[in-house]
């Protein structure tokens, strides 16, 4: 009997271990800092370290850092790299004229649906670095390997690297002196969407918050040292909660929510990422997109600002003069102190709509994202009752 009990206990412990998600190299730092951890695409990631709203404000006003080591990094090399990437991606890597320059693109399926969104950097010659999402890792890698076929392209996943995003108006100035060697000095010269690799540090002036900052890729040990140094320098660790409200305010799409394999980039506000020229460049999904472009898509992707109280949430119904639509990403904007959302609604609908929140239709304005960029509200706000709220002086 005793043995049976012990066995069950042992099994339980083992199952407990298998139940746990993957951990990034910074996991211990998060636990030490008191993070509330959640499962994200199979990873145990920090949701917040106490207050996701404070973390949001810190990034808008000062500097915050995110562990984004769970994201998937793939190095592409080989003589056919460039030609292959020009076929694989809807945006055109031939636009990358400057070494280190990055490009945002969708990776489409033949039906024009979005397999993932990504950033690709040109590292000179036939070398590229691709950063895709964490939750889509397996599907992406499988698709990429399939698409390589017998071309001379090598794909190497870089799960040996950790990734830290330092974001906010002060982020670069605070971070620069903490980087190894002379990387900081060189990195301060980077323009938007430019990267460099030096002394084992890959650093790009990119992010997912609508603020200035860097995304830094280094080996796990250096990531840990850098995270500790940033913490000592007063940079606030921020979790996925703040990351989501920051990207929502910045009008940046979230894969899996705002676009999926069953939505076209043309109905996801991503037309600007499709390189139609040169017209003779074939890429996966092109023929379907051409048809959609000619026929016109029936749905548009817009921003909504709720008038009055309440919070718009993913999946809620939107009524417009042109028909029904849906919220794809909704939430509370800490900067604007009201609810904002990204929604897919019938083409032609404009100005006003109603959102069904808990069985009540509430008025909202239809706007063009972004809502907030570089600390500034980009949407004219109505005369709501938002006088006594923190941050109200921004309005």
């Amino acid at each position: 009997m005793h043995y049976t009990c012990r066995l069950f206990l042992l099994l339980d412990t083992l199952l407990g271990i298998f139940d746990m998600g993957k951990q990034t190299g910074l996991y211990k730092r998060h636990v030490e800092a008191g993070a509330k951890l959640v499962d994200f695409g199979g990873w145990d990631m920090p949701l917040h370290y106490g207050s996701q709203i404070e973390e949001h404000h810190v990034v808008r006003n000062n500097a915050g850092m995110f562990d984004v080591s769970h994201m998937t990094v793939v190095d592409v090399s080989g003589p056919d790299s460039r030609a292959w990437l020009r076929y694989l991606l809807a945006n055109d890597v031939a636009r990358l004229k400057l070494e280190g320059k990055g490009l945002y693109s969708c990776m489409l399926n033949p039906a024009g649906g979005v397999i993932d969104d990504l950033i690709i950097y040109w590292q000179g010659d036939m070398k590229y670095r691709v950063v895709v999402n964490a939750a889509t890792r397996e599907a992406d890698l499988k698709w990429m390997h399939k698409m390589v076929g017998d071309r001379q392209v090598a794909l190497k996943e870089r799960d040996d690297l950790g990734m830290i995003a330092v974001q906010g108006p002060q982020a670069r100035q605070i971070t620069a002196p903490l980087l190894p060697g002379n990387v900081g000095k060189a990195a301060l010269e980077l323009g938007a969407f430019e990267s460099l690799e030096q002394d084992g540090v890959f650093i790009a002036r990119t992010g997912y918050t609508g603020e200035d900052g860097w995304e830094i890729l280094v080996d796990a040990q250096t990531a840990d040292t850098l995270w500790a140094a940033l913490t000592r320098a007063g940079v606030q660790p921020c979790g996925l909660g703040a990351r989501d409200t920051l990207r929502l305010e910045a009008g940046l799409n979230l894969y899996g929510q705002d676009m999926t394999t069953s939505t076209s980039p043309l109905e996801s506000n991503l037309s600007w990422t499709i390189a139609w020229e040169p017209a003779d460049r074939d890429f996966v999904g092109r023929s379907v997109l051409e048809q959609q472009r000619q026929a016109g898509v029936s749905r548009q992707f817009v921003g909504l600002v709720l008038e009055g109280r309440g919070v718009m949430r993913t999946g809620q119904r939107v009524n417009t003069a042109a028909g029904e639509g849906q919220i794809v990403s909704g939430g509370f904007s800490p900067t604007m102190q009201c609810s904002i959302a990204l929604a897919r609604i019938p083409a032609g609908a404009a100005e006003r709509c109603e959102v069904e929140i808990r069985s009540v239709f509430r008025p909202a304005r239809i706007v063009r994202p972004p809502f907030v960029r570089n600390g500034e509200i980009k949407i004219q706000q109505g005369s709501k009752n938002n006088s006594n709220v923190p941050g109200g002086d921004l309005l």
Binding site: Q52, I53, G241, R309, G310, V311, N388
Partner: protein, 132 residues
């Protein structure tokens, strides 16, 4: 581990109740509840004079994550509401048992308070929930 004040009674829906000297009952949500909800961004309170039955949805707490109804745990008339929550909903997070109270009720029948859990019983109830 969330804080459980021994001055109050608790409902299974994680509301706390306090019987005041004048026979009215003040209500809020427990520390456990506010922690599970996450940071609040809106609180909708009932109106003074509303007559509520037990089980009526009488208030809404909306957090960064989700919206939740608060169901009135006993029948009565709303005597006072916490107006400060309109502009500072975070009081419920920061001070769930004091500044974050939600409303005060004049109960129809105060003897129903015997049906609620004391701090010890609520603590055991939370432990049971955690085990499930």
């Amino acid at each position: 581990m969330s804080e459980i004040s021994d001055k109050f009674l608790y409902s299974k829906d994680h509301e706390w109740l306090r019987l005041d000297d004048d026979g009215s009952v003040t209500l809020g949500i427990s520390d456990h509840a506010q922690e599970a909800l996450g940071e609040l961004v809106f609180v909708e309170v009932p109106e003074v004079g509303d007559r509520l039955s037990a089980g009526d949805a009488c208030a809404v707490v909306e957090s960064v994550k989700a919206a939740s109804d608060i169901y009135c745990p006993l029948a009565g008339e709303v005597a006072e509401v916490n107006l400060a929550l309109a502009d500072t909903p975070e009081l419920v997070n920061n001070s769930p048992y004091e500044d974050g109270w939600i409303f005060r009720l004049q109960p129809e029948d105060a003897t129903v308070l015997d049906d609620f859990m004391d701090a010890d019983a609520y603590s055991r109830y939370l432990a049971e929930l955690e085990d499930q």
